[in-house]
Symmetry: C2
Subunit: 320 residues, 2 copies
């Protein structure tokens, strides 16, 4: 079979992440059903989705906000949301007992071939799908926030998830324009948070030990390493940084990197004095009452960057 | 004093990095003198600089390649290159004995207030400036390659470098449009390579342990974490990722990140079987004979991204 089965997509949990997923599927032409046990959140969703889709349209990332919005409906209850759905994106609150409860409820209601992906950013699927009859068709499908602007989705199978399930969700995510990456098995933090964690831990350590300011460490990334990483990964970066490619690079610089890594193994915690130090430096740069405004700025910049990348990719493809 | 002293800039060492520095200073309106003990390299420099500046002009990053090129002259010898120079960017081969020799030679020739910045990516200035009379005015000024496209420059003082020297080079770098970041003292790998090292070591570990492919780890960055990091650092990223800012974020997610970091402390080396595994996966994506072409693609993408960032920054500033 080429492509993911036709049929509606259900979004269970309509917070920020669930709504972003709704936009991802709807703009790609899929029918979307929303459900949330919180009635107020569910009723607020269409209005918020209209705003979000309008932002995408204004940024040039989609043709028509109205057309996408027309594909999204609010379901009166969980049963109705799941009825005939071929894929369910679970996006409820990140707590094991909450997820376990909603997976148990979905287990009795989904179609025999339906797949459930969880937006869980840290709790592996094995912790809340063990008792489900459908557990072979459950996995984590974790996005970077917000998924309608940042395309990566990491697919993390539980020990009982079938390879066909991972492959099918990979296909679906590609079809709707996301960038799926797959783990072979569960690990703390998956890929995204592990890579972010090691970088953050070193950044905090450098501030704690007084080597540099928060602002200068941020600039080291935003005006140094980050631009390359926004269109190439770390492996491709080093592959292009030595005449003989990655193996050449690894032999030249591996010993230095291993020495640096060995000097970072002492356990550190972010205790309150350290948190206060970082917080103080950030508030010098951005007062607390401007956090929300700056987050909106970040989303606009991410959308502009997404458009820039799309245009460059198209130009590169045309040049071939 | 506001601003860096007027006067010519000397570039000592005319390889890729030295030539990129020449473009940085010349396009900002500074007079530049080139010197290299390798006569062939020195004579080839103006032609290569003309090409490099034309690329910048075609990318829309500078007004006139010819105007910048007209500010660059080749010096007949080291003495003539340094005569009256207010700042020297040393960019010779990365080996302690080579750097020590060139610093000793420069020590007797520079003006009494001239400052020398070394492009050294890993060897701290204390290892080759200890015996110099001018050592208080020497430091590392390490760029990301290539500095005429990626603006960050990390300033690393030796124990004897005066704070005034660091402050003056910071001012100079800002004046010529680079983004200086300062360390308070020397540390293995400085900021850039430390942050890159911890991320690379974890990426290689995930491949070694079979969690994911090289390609999927690259996508996790290029389509996940990297876009945000191309215009915000890691601290600002997490500051905007919790309602109460960075302190709120640190209290919520610190324990997870510390647990992840603690699980990465086992020492790993990139041995030959692992290098072969990574090399094999990269060569599936990019044959060795296309490395050079892909590096040219990377530079074009970096220039396009630099222009995109400049335009967005200007639009943001105008909207205020």
């Amino acid at each position: 079979m080429n492509g993911f089965r036709a049929g509606p997509i259900a979004i269970v949990g309509c917070g920020l992440v669930g709504r972003a997923w709704a936009m991802v599927f709807a703009r790609a032409g899929r029918q979307v059903r929303l459900y949330d046990a919180n009635e107020a959140l569910l009723q607020a969703a269409p209005g918020l989705l209209a705003e979000g889709l309008r932002d995408l349209e204004q940024s040039g990332l989609i043709e028509s906000a109205d057309a996408a919005l027309a594909r999204i409906v609010v379901a009166p209850n969980l049963k109705s949301a799941l009825d005939g759905a071929v894929y369910i994106q679970e996006s409820v609150f990140e707590r094991t007992d909450v997820k376990r409860e909603v997976f148990a409820a979905m287990d009795g209601l989904i179609s025999p071939e339906a797949i459930i992906g969880s937006s869980s950013s840290g709790i592996p699927a094995s912790e809340y799908t063990a008792g489900c009859a459908c557990r072979a068709r459950c996995l984590v499908a974790h996005p970077v926030n917000p998924p309608h602007v940042v395309p990566v989705v990491e697919l993390v199978p539980a020990p009982w998830t079938t390879p066909e399930t991972v492959a099918a969700v990979r296909t679906l995510m590609e079809e709707v324009g996301q960038v799926p990456v797959a783990l072979t098995r569960e690990i703390d933090g998956f890929l995204i948070n592990r890579l972010q964690a090691v970088l953050l831990m070193e950044a905090w350590r450098l501030v704690e030990d007084g080597y540099a300011t928060v602002e200068d460490i941020d600039r080291t990334i935003s005006d140094g390493l980050g631009p390359r990483w926004s269109f190439m990964g770390p492996f491709e970066t080093i592959d292009l940084n030595a005449p003989g490619g990655v193996a050449d690079y690894a032999r030249r610089l591996g010993p230095l990197y291993q020495r640096i890594a060995s000097s970072c193994t002492e356990h550190r915690t972010w205790d309150e004095p350290l948190i206060a130090k970082v917080e103080h430096q950030r508030r010098q740069q951005l007062p607390a009452d401007q956090l929300q405004q700056r987050s909106a700025w970040r989303d606009r910049r991410l959308m502009a960057l997404a458009l820039h990348k799309r245009e460059r990719d198209a130009a590169d493809a045309a040049a071939k």
